[in-house]
């Protein structure tokens, strides 16, 4: 699909929703940049991480560990653990990303948000539009936010005051709800939630979410639609 047609495929409602998430991500980026510099790290550290790693949770973890005096190697291992869920995302949205050069760029802009946006669309064309618009938009907003936050320093360090920490789970919840209307998927997801919450006190960040995949044991794939309607 040519890049230009992505923008034509996006309907105004979806474009607005994606824009809102990009904006919110920009504000979180602002706080990440400010926290990093406020924690004593040079400005290039949060900026470089945002461009080459581009995965919010792992970046917060990385700068948190390093700023607290921890080893960058330990921070790297923790970051990789948190990002391991992207393997499953990549398997699910492979067709959405596309082949050739798109696979390289598309993989780099893979986030929780744009994967969820893509999964919420009905056909491949709209999935692609949502994935790419979300991924590229978030990449741009996130990085602008990080640079601005890093330069501003300790202006905004606590986005919890604005309730943004509640906005992000709500965004993902709104995006996965349509898929959870399917009973089998819902059962599997709920089992996953219980398992993830149960192991959270005992495991390092990133692992509990992976344990949720135990829920797959409770998933029964539907029979092909043709057989059902007959």
């Amino acid at each position: 699909m040519p890049m230009r047609s992505i923008w034509r495929t996006l309907d105004p409602g979806l474009a607005r929703d994606i824009g809102l998430v990009c904006l919110a991500d920009g504000v979180v980026g602002l706080s990440y940049g400010a926290i990093s510099v406020g924690g004593g790290l040079p400005l290039w550290v949060p900026i470089l991480l945002s461009v080459v790693v581009f995965a919010g949770a792992s970046q917060f973890l990385f700068v948190g560990i390093v700023a607290a005096g921890g080893s960058p190697i330990a921070a790297m291992v923790a970051g990789l653990l948190v990002n391991s869920r992207h393997v499953a995302f990549g398997l699910a949205v492979s067709d959405v990303i596309g082949g050739g050069w798109r696979r390289w760029l598309g993989s780099h802009v893979m986030t929780d948000e744009n994967v969820a946006f893509a999964m919420g669309q009905d056909d491949l064309k709209h999935q692609r539009a949502a994935y790419w618009a979300g991924g590229l938009g978030i990449f741009v907003c996130w990085n602008i936010g990080v640079v601005a936050g890093g330069l501003a320093g300790s202006v905004i360090t606590d986005t919890d005051v604005f309730g943004l920490d509640a906005a992000f789970p709500a965004v993902l919840l709104a995006l996965v709800l349509p898929a959870l209307r399917d009973r089998s998927t819902r059962t599997a997801a709920l089992v996953g939630v219980v398992v993830a919450l149960a192991v959270t006190p005992f495991l390092p960040a990133g692992l509990p979410v992976l344990f949720a995949l135990v829920g797959l044991l409770f998933y029964r794939a539907e029979k092909p639609a043709v057989e059902v309607t007959r």
Binding site: V53, F54, I97, M119, P169, A174, A188
Partner: protein
Amino acid sequence: MNNTPLLLIGIGILAVGTFSLRFAGPALRSRFEVPERAQQLLAAAAIILLTALVATSALTDGHGPAGVARPAGVLVGGVLAWRRAPFVLVVVAAAATAAGLRLLGVP
């Protein structure tokens, strides 16, 4: 903390590793024909991960519980989403609920 070479090594490996994790799925899928059933299973896996991410990020902070304001905000957003409210309303209501509760001194 001021060990710049070590910092660069850490960031570099994290970058390459994260990209590899993201790239692995599409790279594997392009080599093999994936049957319909398996594709459904992979889609379900992504939904399960995202749902678990919702739960852990809404209810936990580090290894402990997240307090009251954040879960309450997510709950309000979730109910609105379930009632098919506009996405903007879901996001703003979730944030406003959490922010409002904190303003009142709720953790």
